[in-house]
Symmetry: C2
Subunit: 243 residues, 2 copies
């Protein structure tokens, strides 16, 4: 990847929070310019991670949360018997790593699904700064509340919905998150495998694959390997059981 104009480059490390095009999605919402500068001072921007590289691993000491700047991540936890459970996919502007806050140990691992960059936000310094900036404290409470809400919606999905409803919901979720980031809500490339989707949604690879095939046959979506196009948004929503 070539970076003619560093300030605009996806993976460059010079951008600050004030200039970041993800500002309106990320931690800085509701902060004024001076506050953003203060936040900016504690944020560390690391080198890009390659596909398969870990951001943190389960049982490691918790020290920071991370904002995805580009690319995408999968969070998963491993149980004693070695089975893995995907607990979330994280796209640019989203915050991950909050699972470690309660015990000061990460209880999940996070791995890059493609070449990705993050902003590392050391938690201790975030706490300090939050004490000084009420709007940052509020914003972070809000982000954690969001994570709780999201997980609880996921519980409903896993507890009550069929395979088709689950897969359709995931596609709609990615679609709307892309939309927020000014990307196409109807055409995108999945950065995760069928197996990872299945794991996340409590299904097997085979079932996910069959649902994709069925939805394609009904012309609700077009699928070419990981490339997805939503052809009939209304129909997809009705399959997902949402209005």
């Amino acid at each position: 990847m070539s970076c003619a104009e560093p300030k605009r480059c996806h993976h460059n490390q010079l951008v600050n929070c004030g200039d970041c095009r993800l500002g309106p999605l990320c931690l800085p919402i509701a902060l004024n310019t001076a506050e953003i500068d203060q936040l900016d001072d504690i944020v560390k921007r690391g080198r890009p991670l390659g596909k398969g590289e870990h951001l943190f691993r389960q049982a490691e000491a918790f020290g920071a949360v991370y904002a995805v700047r580009s690319g995408s991540f999968k969070a998963y936890s491993t149980s004693d018997d070695g089975t893995e459970q995907v607990t979330g996919f994280y796209l640019p502007g989203e915050i991950l790593g909050m699972d470690g806050i309660s015990s000061l140990k990460h209880c999940s691992s996070a791995v890059a699904l493609e070449t990705s960059t993050v902003c590392e936000i050391p938690f201790g310094r975030l706490e300090e700064l939050s004490s000084q900036l009420p709007s940052l404290q509020r914003r972070f409470f809000q982000i954690m509340g969001n994570e709780i809400t999201k997980d609880q919606q996921m519980l409903t999905l896993l507890g009550k919905n069929s395979a088709e409803e689950r897969v359709a919901s995931l596609l709609l979720s990615i679609s709307s998150r892309n939309h927020h980031r000014n990307l196409s809500p109807t055409r995108f490339r999945l950065s995760m495998s069928r197996a990872e989707i299945g794991n996340y949604m409590g299904l097997t690879v085979e079932t996910v694959s069959r649902v994709f095939s069925r939805l394609q046959k009904q012309e609700v979506i077009g699928v070419d390997n990981r490339e997805v196009e939503i052809l009939d948004m209304a129909k997809l929503k009705s399959v997902a059981n949402v209005t």
Copy 2:
């Protein structure tokens, strides 16, 4: 219920955080005496709620979080089509209502499963006080992090585990939470119905009932309606697939 000595009564409204026997489980952990007094000033202790009374309802404005003082609550969300999903059970010392923090609207309802009391903690004032007391801020981040961790474990349970594993896990969860509160970890009364358990665990009433019967036949537990005794803790843990 008679209350000879008000200070010790389960449902009385005079107790303050400093004297509350739930202190070591609840919000005040890690606060010193002076800090607890400050917290105490913002806490409102309401009248007892009867079984079936709501603490808050979905879509209502969010204004406070609640610490269970006695009794128990069920949190659930209702979808457009009217189906309900139980998102959690809350026992004394546990905090509920955090689902409203992100959008300032409750996205679940909470109902008392039996006669119960709560401490209401107005969120705006908690935010203010958190800015002044770093240990309170930290504690509240921790409580929210706990909720996230708990929900994610629940995702694993719903995504991967069988009916027996799910029900056994719930019994173990209640057992250990009772234990923390110095109640018997092996004998307790369930405050929720089989239907509510099933709903929470993504199962039907019939399946829950069958699992209870099977576990009883194998002498892992003894069940008499809502009265449960764990007869073989080790076996129950192996059924639940935990070590």
